[in-house]
């Protein structure tokens, strides 16, 4: 709604605003249909199911808080939380740092920018796909490309995806590799920083680093914040890559047991849909808390000049 109040400020006309409101609602209609028709019903159903014992094939039976207390003693759940938190906390900062770094380079006016932008964006489009996950498994396999390259310099590599010690790292690398979408957003943000600020700064004798520290970074904080929130939510929901790379098991030895993969195993592997629904809601709560903390913390480091 804030964009609408901005419009009001800009135009100052009541009738225009009402028309704009109608237009906005009209354009939002497909989303509302989806939300009420497809998303909200199942969400409420799953909230109810989280308080039941439900095996998919027979009607759910109310079981109170059983599913929720069970979580306290579920070792595999704790393992999946450990895996997922590690993944989020390592891969998101790395991915954003890489995205920002490349955006800064490209913003300096590289010839053929559009080409590079597209090439770097490509992994973001395909990185979550089954095909790329299959490719990843092969590239990081014992006889994969990575080991063939290492062999050229005399290093005998191991099976990266099949050793419990390194399997998660290969998936972190996969996520970092999809830096394209935050990069494009960073680029758009960089373009909006007025050149006059840099001119003024260089007249005052500020070097490259000072300009970056005191102009680029502060003005880019809303974009960094936006990317951070989005990528954290995205990373918490990681499923396809882990499913394909481990063949649905989260292996080797549970080293890639992502939260959503464990949820899937409970729900569909074990017909344990009541518990799986509770797990889904726990994930929603976790991501909600992360996002809330992010928003709260943003007061201290995100700079809005409006």
């Amino acid at each position: 709604m804030s964009s609408i109040s901005e419009l009001r400020r800009l135009r100052g006309s009541q009738r225009d605003t009402r028309q704009q409101n109608k237009a906005a609602l009209f354009f939002l209609l497909p989303w509302f249909v989806g939300l009420f028709g497809i998303t909200l019903g199942p969400m409420l159903a799953s909230l109810y199911l989280s308080f039941t014992k439900y095996n998919l094939l027979q009607p759910p039976q109310f079981s109170g808080l059983d599913n929720w207390t069970r979580m306290l003693h579920d070792d595999r759940l704790h393992k999946s939380l450990e895996v997922t938190f590690t993944y989020v906390l390592v891969s998101v900062p790395l991915q954003l740092a890489l995205a920002l770094g490349l955006a800064l380079l490209l913003d300096k006016g590289v010839r053929g920018l559009a080409f590079y932008r597209s090439v770097f964006y490509l992994p973001s489009l395909i990185g979550g796909s089954v095909a790329i996950a299959v490719l990843w498994r092969t590239v990081f396999g014992t006889d994969g490309l990575v080991n063939k390259a290492l062999a050229l310099v005399g290093i005998h590599g191991q099976g990266w995806v099949s050793e419990p010690g390194t399997a998660l790292s290969t998936l972190i690398v996969l996520n970092v590799w999809t830096f394209g979408s935050p990069m494009v957003i960073f680029l758009a943000g960089l373009r909006q920083i007025p050149a006059s600020l840099y001119e003024a700064a260089s007249v005052d004798g500020a070097g490259r680093w000072r300009q970056f520290r005191n102009i680029t970074l502060p003005l880019l904080t809303p974009i960094i914040f936006f990317n951070l929130v989005l990528q954290i939510i995205h990373a918490f929901q990681t499923f396809t890559q882990a499913f394909v790379v481990s063949g649905g098991t989260g292996g080797p030895a549970d080293s890639t047991l992502f939260y959503s993969l464990y949820l899937y195993q409970r729900g569909f592997g074990q017909f344990d849909m009541g518990y799986a629904s509770a797990l889904a809601w726990l994930l929603l709560l976790i991501v909600g808390v992360f996002t809330a903390v992010n928003f709260w913390a943003s007061k201290y480091w995100v700079f809005y000049d409006d």
Binding site: T39, I223, P252, F268, L283, D305
Partner: protein
């Protein structure tokens, strides 16, 4: 710079999270069914590859010709996708009429009322050509919920070309023990100068492994009541053996086993000629032959102790959904697949060596190559009593077993601790499903 829209978008992004939260509800049966006099359409579903789909579709075409009143719509998927789809369609009361079923899931579906009692459709679906042991593999609580299509038996597949190449004699499988197996495997690894490993894999990746190791010691994985009855010692023996196989170099590394698991049987270490022996079902020999292009032979699995450890495993079943509106037609179709020579001539042994003895007799003279080898091998095996069907709640035994096996083989836990934890977890899942 106007950044506030970004703030709103971030909130909107939360909505995308709600995609995580989605779920589904669940079945019944009547008395003796009759064929309809109106045209009927049945949905049939199975898992498997393109070759199976091709043969099954040919059989469907032959059936439709014979029964013009019945139309069949076939759907097929890979193993994982199949069970996801079957669970969700059954929950949505939209189950296909005829289902290919597996031993792991049979009780899970039957106990929950999702399958049709086939004895009600006796008129359309004969069972007289199956022996009692074979029929028992399709019963849950003494009710015939499924009929076995084919049977498979554990074997050791041997790449005789590699044995010849490295000058190792093929052992006598009538008498060999697990120690002999390890010795031969080590000899192969050594004589090849490490180019190949003697054995691909080690026990602990398939549900048949703990069954075999328990039965060697006179036990079983599950008792008659469907509780876990394997002794920790059997598991400890199995994993300790596997650890020694890996550390001696006789077998491949644990990480290679993990890769084999995702690569599938026709792309793994054995299939690519990098190992000379592997445990497999006799019915897999055709696929392995095609993958290796080498001469293969089936040997009896090594054996410690006196109990008859090997067993006939139903490769898969046909079952009818309790939600089917047309159980009589569904039973007629299953009858065509299992009992009709016209169906058998098309399907042959693709789903396993037929459990229907008359059909097997009908097909046997025409079997050649690896199909013949698989059938001959089965005739040589004297199995022990049939194991109990995997109980309700136990359908996840294989991934669970693999997880513990990997923890042991990657030395994250000891065989003793893993054995205790595995038994406890498996029994816990079975109790939870009661």
């Amino acid at each position: 710079m106007k950044a506030s829209p970004f703030r709103r978008v971030a909130v909107g992004a939360l909505a995308s999270l709600s995609l995580v939260l989605t779920a589904c509800s669940g079945g019944s049966a009547g008395s003796a069914p009759e064929l309809s006099n109106k045209p009927v359409t049945l949905r049939v579903t199975w898992w498997g590859d393109d070759n199976r789909a091709k043969l099954t579709n040919e059989a469907i075409a032959a059936f439709e010709k014979k029964y013009p009143n019945i139309k069949i719509k076939g759907e097929y998927k890979d193993w994982n996708g199949y069970w996801d789809a079957l669970a969700t369609t059954t929950a949505a009361k939209d189950s296909p009429d005829v289902l290919q079923m597996d031993e792991l899931y049979l009780a899970s579906y039957a106990d929950r009322g999702a399958l049709y009692d086939l004895s009600k459709a006796k008129k359309f679906l004969g069972t007289s050509q199956f022996d009692a042991q074979a029929l028992a593999t399709g019963q849950v609580n003494e009710t015939q919920y499924a009929l076995p299509v084919g049977v498979g038996v554990s074997s050791i597949v041997v790449n005789t070309d590699l044995f010849k190449k490295y000058g190792v004699a093929i052992p006598d499988d009538k008498t060999w023990t697990w120690a002999d197996y390890a010795k031969v495997a080590k000899e192969l690894t050594d004589k090849s100068g490490g180019k190949i490993n003697g054995a691909a894999g080690a026990p602990g990746f398939y549900a048949g492994d703990p069954k075999y190791w328990a039965r060697q010691e006179g036990g079983n994985l599950f008792d008659k009541d469907g509780n876990v009855s394997i002794k920790p010692k059997a598991l400890v023996d199995m994993w300790t053996y596997g650890l020694n196989l890996i550390s001696s170099g006789a077998g491949i590394k644990a990480s290679a086993m993990v890769e084999d698991l995702t690569a599938g049987v026709t792309a793994g270490t054995f299939a690519t000629g990098k190992a000379a022996m592997m445990g497999a079902y006799n019915t897999q020999v055709t696929a392995l032959q095609q993958a290796t292009g080498a001469h293969l032979r089936l040997l009896q699995p090594p054996h410690d102790g006196n109990a008859k450890a090997n067993f006939f495993k139903p490769s898969m079943y046909w079952a009818v959904s309790s939600q089917s509106q047309h159980p009589a037609e569904a039973a007629t179709f299953v009858n065509f697949l299992l009992n009709d020579p016209a169906g058998a001539d098309i399907l042959k042994t693709e789903r396993g060596i037929p459990a229907n003895k008359q059909i097997l007799k009908h097909l046997e003279p025409a079997l050649t190559g690896t199909d013949k080898a698989a059938a001959d091998y089965m005739n040589e095996v004297t199995p022990g009593p049939s194991p109990v069907v995997t109980p309700n709640g136990g359908s996840g035994i294989e991934p669970m077993l693999q997880r513990y096996t990997q923890e042991v083989y990657f030395k994250k836990t000891s065989p003793e601790d893993a054995a205790k934890a595995f038994i406890k977890e498996l029994q816990g899942e079975i109790d939870a499903a009661k």
